[in-house]
């Protein structure tokens, strides 16, 4: 078969896989995005001892392979089957999609927390003092001053994290989730046609390219009020991730 025949015959499967990859990445990043602001505040404001469990969690998530984390959740849950069945959680853990989503959300939460912490620490002290001076409450200061600026600083790094998560989502195929990678392996095992992999590569690159464009557009929107004067401040990369 030639590359054109592959895509002509198998495009519905690849499209299905693409949607699955997007779904996994989007939901994983979203769950992490909901949890990480709270965690980031703990990292910047709580007493060192109170932070210890969180720091341990972040260190674990960044120091172990995502594949191992995924296996720990997906296969590891089997060891506690009777308990999980008692609690009615077994149906959740039996589904590979749920396990993959849980693993990616937990992993991304750790990375996003650290990125956001960098952003919060990058907000100039003067802005917070100014907010206090005009009588804003602490909550209002966070909502109107600290977080808007912290997100602007952290935005490019957060984008990188989403791309890394999208790449990591290909691991879900190992636990039989049919994302792009899963569909590709399925098609390859039938056709033994190498171009299958090249199509998959092309799809991944397209998703990344489109995402980068959207993210940049959003960044421009976030910093539209300062664009005329100077470029937005960019956070240093989180300690352990290369730029994607």
């Amino acid at each position: 078969m030639n590359p054109i025949e592959i895509i002509a015959q198998y495009w519905p499967r690849l499209l299905d896989g693409t949607l699955m990859t997007i779904k996994l990445t989007f939901l994983g990043a979203l769950i992490a995005a909901l949890v990480s602001p709270g965690f980031a505040l703990i990292r910047t404001h709580a007493a060192p001892l109170a932070q210890a469990p969180l720091r341990l969690y972040i260190s674990f998530m960044r120091g172990t392979p995502i594949l191992a984390q995924l296996f720990l959740i997906f296969y590891g849950s089997g060891q506690f089957r009777p308990i999980l069945q008692d609690w009615g959680l077994w149906t959740f853990f039996r589904d590979p999609f749920n396990c993959a989503l849980l693993a990616f959300a937990l992993n991304s939460t750790a990375y996003q927390t650290e990125i956001l912490r960098g952003g919060i620490m990058g907000v100039p002290q003067g802005e917070i003092e100014a907010a206090k001076a005009i009588g804003m409450t602490r909550f209002k200061t966070l909502r109107r001053v600290v977080f808007p600026h912290a997100y602007r600083i952290a935005w490019p790094a957060l984008g990188n994290e989403v791309i890394l998560l999208m790449k990591a989502s290909a691991l879900a195929s190992v636990v039989t989730v049919f994302d792009i990678m899963g569909r590709t392996r399925q098609i390859f095992s039938r056709t033994f046609d190498f171009s299958t992999y090249l199509w998959a590569a092309l799809i991944y690159l397209c998703i990344t390219a489109i995402f980068v464009l959207i993210w940049r557009q959003a960044e421009r929107r976030l910093s539209r009020h300062i664009e005329a004067h100077h470029k937005p401040r960019v956070a240093a990369q989180p300690a352990k991730e290369p730029q994607a």
């Binding site: 260190s59 674990f60 960044r62 120091g63 172990t64 392979p65 995502i66 594949l67 191992a68 984390q69 296996f71 720990l72 296969y75 590891g76 849950s77 089997g78 060891q79 506690f80 791309i163 999208m166 790449k167 990591a168 989502s169 290909a170 691991l171 195929s173 190992v174 990678m181 590709t184 392996r185 390859f188 190498f194 992999y197 090249l198 998959a200 590569a201 991944y204 690159l205 990344t208 390219a209 300690a239 352990k240 991730e241 290369p242 730029q243 994607a244």
Partner: protein, 236 residues
């Protein structure tokens, strides 16, 4: 409970250590391959020749955008196919030869490492002080001497934090080779799980081993960074 991890026939300690040895070997063999590719990519993307620059840019951009597991499969299956085609062309009677998963792991992880390292090294090159190169030329150093005595020591200092992160990422990515049937730490864990039916215990053990390796790497890197910066006055 601890019997499970003991040496010998009753425990899985020796099997898992053997897997760990493969993982460490893989990471150590991949490092120079990746660094070499990284230097080539950095030189290519700073070249005066347009096509070479395009090649360097294409390599770093595409490789960084692909999932590592896809790269691994492309190398494992693709190079395997090519190898068989070449061998059959050489000797038509020959049956199919399997491509070594270890070699596939080294090539794939090395290519990923090289793409990221290319960007790190390019950044380091661009933060070198141009005046020092000019000074070297002024006192009659050759290009090789300038590179060895002026640029390389400082390049090391600028690139070390980035390369350290890449090393840790690569160490974690070695877990992927278990998918193409190389008997690394991850796969030996899987074997142990298959027999003992204690998945959580063993995968947690594997996680802890990776964790220890990463934390140790961080300590070594911290020490190396301090050493690389020993001649530098710290900014206030």
């Amino acid at each position: 409970m601890f019997e499970l991890f003991s040496y010998g026939d009753t425990g899985w300690g020796d099997e898992i250590l053997r897997g760990l040895a493969i993982t460490v070997q893989l990471a150590i063999v991949t490092l120079p391959v990746g660094l070499l590719l990284g230097f080539l990519a950095a030189f290519a993307s700073m070249s005066r020749l347009g096509p070479l620059r395009f090649l360097g840019f294409g390599y770093t951009t595409i490789m960084r955008g692909l999932p590592e597991i896809l790269t691994l499969f492309v190398v494992y299956n693709g190079v395997g196919l090519l190898l068989n085609m070449a061998l059959r062309w050489w000797n038509p009677e020959r049956g199919a030869t399997d491509f070594s998963p270890f070699a596939a792991g080294v090539i794939a992880l090395g290519m990923v490492f090289g793409a990221f390292a290319g960007e790190v090294l390019r950044g380091a090159f661009q933060s070198l002080d141009k005046g020092q190169t000019e000074a070297g030329r002024a006192i009659g150093m050759t290009q090789g001497q300038i590179f060895r005595r002026i640029q390389l020591p400082q390049l090391w200092r600028f690139a070390l934090p980035g390369l350290g992160n890449l090393w840790i990422n690569m160490l974690k990515d070695t877990a992927l080779v278990s998918v193409i049937a190389l008997d690394d730490l991850m796969r030996m864990t899987k074997v142990a799980v298959g027999v003992t039916k204690q998945p959580f215990t063993f995968y947690l053990l594997a996680c802890l081993i990776y964790w220890v390796m990463c934390v140790l790497s961080e300590l070594v890197l911290y020490w190396m960074e301090r050493r690389a910066n020993r001649g530098i006055r710290r900014a206030v």
